[in-house]
């Protein structure tokens, strides 16, 4: 987003926490974004790595120390890093994009950040409250949610700048610095080729699937909020509207009555407004995803005709009322057309059937197809990852009807495929072939709606079956009734576990997930696979 002629509002060189303000990046109704660079300072900010020189060697200036810390924290405490559907993919390309990207950036030392200023001075008190609310949403979201597909919130600072009355009291969110937004990419390059578009869309779906699995709605998904990092990986950003689904029902969230007209689903134009805002559901993001899919392959064109956003909004209404058909651009590849059409189902009810997770599964399959297509311009490493995705999808299709993508494909399943290098890169385990456990949930309510993958129906897996089953001992990946997990071995004398109806067991199965191993208590499955006792 180029900045309008208003000129910089934040003086260059201003200190914000540990950072120094640089070039302006973007501007919006909520405030301004500037580039920031870490200032060499004498206190190492609690980093154990210590050295503070502003160098850029791989051994660690302050920036590296801190950033590496952050990355490690994510991996170690497990925040949510592995809890999403991309475990294998990320791990598979460990030396490439994604997580490793952080590492490289941190080691590079001159890693820039984005400073999002949300000024409160000069605003009427109520307006300031609105902005503060938005900042609070965003920083709360950032604190609670970390994921390789979500822009990382590094810090938040409240400015105390009596010399700059305009900035005094402003909330500054310190975030990863992206290279550009998807909108900028589309404006610069026009329609994306199948391979590139597929890669970006897949990563958008990964982020969205993760958000929804956590029970959040993004609420403002659009190419401006899809950021591309220097390594080409995608981050969703701008969680100023993101809302957590209502705790009791888990089907709705409340959001201020704001949004970007081009991405609002038909029902939003008629949505009633209550004291808490408008109701939104994850299907809101699914609709927006449908629009984004179309835009990626058409250089930013909406599937709905019209010169203004209002005209396109009216076209959405016409379509939703059944008075106009959906006319998707033939430039959109076949498989994506079908996906976009599903995302753009006019009624919330029919759209709700297409969860982000389901879309992601289909996207992965499509990603595989695209990588096989001639003319794919992805670099070799990327290509390998794409192949990997394809193998996973195929293997899943063969193994089970429940296509949840984090389940590691068993060796047997893809030897017929193109996956030789996948083995070496990804799957080191040598479990007895085909041993599986199907997750069982004793709650009938959850069994009946396993497809919905409702967060309240998710089940945890332990890191260590001999340690107390506390929050620190649970892997980030959740499982649901019906999921099929490859089992490696069994531990008969783990910590006793009692399920909701009183069944007790000390047996645990070591299962493989996309992002590693974890332990499933035997009360969580009806299967008793013939696996050896763990060493």
């Amino acid at each position: 987003m180029p900045v309008s002629g208003a000129g910089p509002r934040v003086p260059r060189g201003l200190r914000v926490g540990d950072w120094e303000v640089g070039e302006p990046i973007a501007e919006g109704g909520w405030g301004w974004v500037y580039e920031g660079r870490r200032v060499a300072n004498t206190d190492a900010g609690g980093s154990s790595t210590g050295p503070t020189a502003a160098g850029r060697s791989s051994t660690g200036p302050t920036a590296a120390g801190r950033s590496t810390d952050a990355t490690d924290r994510d991996r170690g405490a497990g925040a949510v890093d592995g809890g999403h559907g991309t475990g294998v993919t990320d791990r598979g390309r460990a030396a490439g994009a994604g997580d490793a990207g952080h590492g490289t950036g941190a080691a590079g030392g001159d890693r820039a950040v984005a400073l999002k200023f949300m000024p409160t001075a000069g605003l009427a008190p109520r307006q300031a409250r609105g902005l503060a609310e938005s900042a609070r949403r965003e920083s709360e979201f950032g604190r609670r949610n970390r994921h390789p597909r979500l822009i990382r919130l590094l810090d938040s600072v409240v400015l105390d700048e009596p010399d700059h009355p305009q900035l005094d009291g402003a909330v500054v969110l310190v975030m990863e610095r992206a290279e550009r937004s998807l909108r900028q990419l589309l404006e610069a390059e026009g329609p994306l080729a199948g391979g590139a578009g597929t890669r970006i869309l897949t990563q958008i779906c990964e982020g969205l699937a993760h958000l929804h699995a956590l029970g959040w709605v993004h609420g403002d998904l659009k190419p401006d909020n899809v950021l591309l990092m220097a390594d080409g990986s995608v981050r969703l950003s701008d969680f100023g509207l993101a809302a957590e689904l209502d705790g009791t029902l888990g089907t709705h969230a409340w959001m201020p009555p704001a949004g970007t007209p081009d991405y609002l689903p038909p029902e939003r134009w008629r949505a009633p407004l209550g004291e808490r805002g408008v109701q939104v559901r994850p299907s809101t993001d699914i609709w927006a995803l449908g629009i984004v899919i179309h835009q990626v392959f058409t250089g930013g064109a909406s599937p709905f005709p019209g010169a203004t956003a209002a005209a396109r909004g009216a076209a959405v209404q016409e379509f939703a009322a059944g008075r106009a058909p959906l006319r998707l651009d033939p430039a959109v590849p076949e498989v994506w057309r079908a996906l976009a059409a599903d995302c753009l189902a006019p009624a919330h009810e029919s759209r709700a059937a297409h969860t982000a997770q389901e879309v992601l599964t289909r996207v992965r399959a499509a990603e595989g197809d695209a990588s096989d297509a001639p003319g794919d311009t992805a670099p070799p490493r990327r290509r390998r990852r794409l192949v990997l995705g394809a193998v996973t999808a195929t293997a899943l299709g063969a193994a089970t009807a429940v296509g949840w993508p984090y389940i590691v494909a068993d060796n047997e399943d893809h030897t017929a495929g193109k996956g030789t290098e996948v083995h070496t890169e990804n799957i080191s385990g040598t479990a007895s072939a085909g041993a599986r456990v199907t997750v069982f949930n004793v709650e009938k309510y959850c069994r009946d709606r396993a497809e919905a993958r409702d967060p309240i129906c998710s089940l945890g897996l332990a890191v260590d079956p001999r340690a107390a089953y506390t929050i620190d001992n649970v892997v980030p990946t959740r499982v649901w009734h019906g999921d099929v997990l490859p089992a490696e071995c069994r531990m008969s004398k783990g910590l006793p576990v009692t399920d909701e109806v009183g069944t007790r067991t000390t047996t645990w199965y070591k299962v493989r997930l996309r992002d590693g191993r974890a332990w499933l208590p035997a009360v969580r499955t009806k299967d008793r696979p013939a696996v050896p006792e763990c060493a």
Binding site: M1, S4, G5, A6, E27, G28, G29, W30, L123, A124, P125, R126, Q127, R129, G130, R183, D220, K222, P223, D224, G240, L241, P256, P257, A258, G259, T260, P261, D262, L264, R268, W269, R270, A271, P272, L273, G274, E275, G277, V278, G306, T308, A309, A310, A311, G313, A314, A315, V316, Q317, E318, A321, R323, A324
Partner: protein
């Protein structure tokens, strides 16, 4: 984009909603020429014209071979446009419009409201307005009478005089009496503006309404309207300047 609302004031009053792409014909009507909007006046032709909703506005077609129709903006200080005979699809730019068909008497008229008109966010930066900006989904015309009524409704809470009181309709009429443009709003007009805000612009659901069997709907509506407008910054302190000065000594400022 919820379309437009057409209101025929004659007895019995008729309200018709049209969504984008929908069409309604108007005229005296007959078996051969059925109309959706029946205007029972002998001097109106059987099929007098057509209204078609497109984008966030609407188009007026004049099927008469001899008569021009007038479209007035009731809030526009005499603003109007003339749709000549046989004109097809004249775009009407007003959020509020009164369509007048000439008759031997005082004329036949009906109202058309287009609540979907979009306004840029008042808090956004000027210039550089791109289509992808995040907007408040409920855009209000800050020069419209309904906005003035909304500010008057919110005034006690904006001035922190009372966290609870919401002015009554007569109080608002009195409050706006010295306004240069809208000083002659009647109680009925004020009520109509409140209904328009609640039903068409903000689509308020009052808490009482969500519980079936409660009769407190009308009262709940005003409070909810004020609560929502303040909560989401649709009205704030800066808008108090739109209201006329409060003391009699300040009346001169209003000219």
């Amino acid at each position: 984009m919820s379309g437009i609302v057409i209101h025929l004031p004659q007895e019995p009053a008729q309200t018709v909603r049209l969504g984008p792409g929908e069409v309604a014909r108007f005229g005296r009507g007959s078996d051969a020429a059925p109309v959706e909007l029946r205007l029972a006046d002998p001097s109106v032709s059987r099929l007098a014209g057509e209204i078609r909703v497109t984008d966030e506005h609407w188009l007026l077609s004049n099927f008469s071979a001899t008569q021009s129709y007038l479209v007035e903006n009731p809030e526009g200080a005499g603003e109007y446009l003339r749709v000549p005979p046989r004109r097809v699809g004249a775009p009407i730019p007003f959020e509020f419009a009164r369509v007048v068909l000439p008759t031997r008497g005082s004329g036949v008229s009906f109202h058309v409201f287009a609540p979907d008109h979009v306004y840029l966010d008042p808090s956004g930066p000027e210039g550089d307005h791109r289509g992808t900006r995040t907007l408040t989904a409920y855009s209000l015309d800050q020069t419209a009478a309904y906005f003035l009524v909304l500010v008057a409704l919110c005034e006690p809470r904006l001035r922190d005089e009372s966290a609870l009181a919401v002015p009554t309709t007569p109080e608002i009429v009195e409050r706006l009496r010295r306004h240069p443009q809208y000083g002659r709003l009647t109680a009925r007009a004020v009520s109509a503006h409140i209904d328009y805000l609640a039903d068409e612009k903000l689509r308020i659901v009052s808490p009482a309404e969500r519980e079936p069997g409660r009769g407190a709907r009308r009262n709940g509506k005003r409070e909810t309207l004020v609560g929502v407008a303040l909560r989401f910054g649709l009205v704030d302190e800066r808008h108090l300047g739109l209201l006329p000065a409060r003391t009699p000594s300040g009346a001169g400022a209003c000219r």
